[in-house]
Symmetry: C2
Subunit: 237 residues, 2 copies
């Protein structure tokens, strides 16, 4: 791979940059305590996350109008609370729990790794999260993005090609000038054939101790590393 033409790094965020599950579990414990509720936080977090892909399906298929992720999270949260036998919450408390996604913590290597990478490359998100979510998360976690791109600018959810291609285009770049960084083979399987360079960062505890998917690269990606320090080293930063 000729890496000399890479100008920008595009990052998947949930799981790749931030530990969504560990952070949601923390937020759900606080929520349960605050409201004196019994709750299995790991199961609730997994259930909530599992609802996200089916929600995007009709939007990807074009049978539902573009809807941002904050709204999808809120839409799935209300029946999920009922399913977990939680009722009688004020709207503001539901909103507060819904914005737990804005307060996800980075993996320990993410912030120092990104600062190393930022010296040499444009750093942009290419996430299915909406802009406000990523902006608030970045301020909370200290993530030094140069641009927040991905689904909302493209009005398309990954793995739709528009989400990747739009991100490169908004940076004034071609796919071959961008490196897509993800902990998910599916992201790279979508971006690679479009001409993007590919980097797989293993996050073997994203789904907890029993994780079965994305433990190893599914193909010979251009870069395969264990964290963002190693990514920076691989890119001579």
């Amino acid at each position: 791979m000729d890496r000399s033409n890479i100008k920008a790094l595009l990052f998947d965020v949930f799981g790749t940059v931030v530990d969504w599950r560990g952070s949601l579990v923390r937020e759900l414990r606080q929520f349960a305590k605050r409201n004196a509720i019994a709750l299995d936080p790991e199961r609730f977090a997994d259930d909530w996350r599992a609802l996200y892909d089916p929600q995007m399906a009709p939007i990807r298929a074009g049978t539902r109008a573009w809807t941002r992720l904050d709204a999808l999270h809120r839409e799935s949260l209300v029946p999920l609370l009922a399913r977990h036998a939680i009722s009688g919450l004020a709207e503001a408390e539901i909103d507060r729990l819904n914005t737990a996604w804005h307060r996800l913590d980075p993996w320990p290597d993410a912030v120092p790794g990104l600062w190393r990478l930022k010296r040499r490359f444009v750093l942009a998100t290419c996430s299915n999260a909406n802009t406000a979510l990523i902006v608030n998360m970045a301020r909370n976690a200290g993530l030094p993005w140069d641009a927040v791109l991905g689904a909302e600018p493209a009005r398309a959810y990954k793995p739709q090609p528009e989400a990747y291609l739009g991100s490169a285009d908004w940076l004034g770049l071609k796919p071959e000038q961008c490196l897509m960084v993800a902990a998910h083979n599916g992201d790279l399987e979508a971006a690679g054939p479009l001409g993007f360079h590919t980097a797989f960062v293993a996050r073997p505890t994203e789904h907890g101790a029993g994780q079965e998917r994305n433990l190893a690269p599914s193909r010979a990606w251009d870069i395969v590393v264990e964290d963002f320090h190693a990514l920076a080293a691989a890119l001579d930063c």
Copy 2:
């Protein structure tokens, strides 16, 4: 004015944050020297800038499809070079001059003022410049934006209401939770009636020593200051 509900600051960029004229003059002098050309850099800069508003008019009117500012700058540059009797340049040299807009220098107070403001507020651009231009400028000048918004996300050029309203909406905010900051009364005359708080920052040399417009506020804006340090002080940062 009740400022307690302000969550985000939206900034006009050309003239308000960066000294586009002084920076273009510097770039044009380098360009002239590099190509052994005689050139009046102040006049060239003013001529180039003057072409930008007429170019946006048909896009604002809906008679021309959305076109980003980098392309408009390039489109106006070619005949402008001819008008200044400059010919025989390589395409790459024209491209290099066109991206002078990506290398504009901030006013001296801009970077330290923004860092003070960033501690408390989301900082976003609300500019007619496209994303790549603002991203490259920010990296070059050290401008710590949380989000790059404005014309390109909205696909509408200020003072079209969509450019302001879309920027607030992408941040998940209402206009009354945002403060529009500009050195141009016209920007505030557009944003204020939409519900935005308004701050006028005087930049009396934006157009050079003989500047006649925007020397003083045209209305009683919520905040009127001489630079970003004073803006930070006015907002208790």
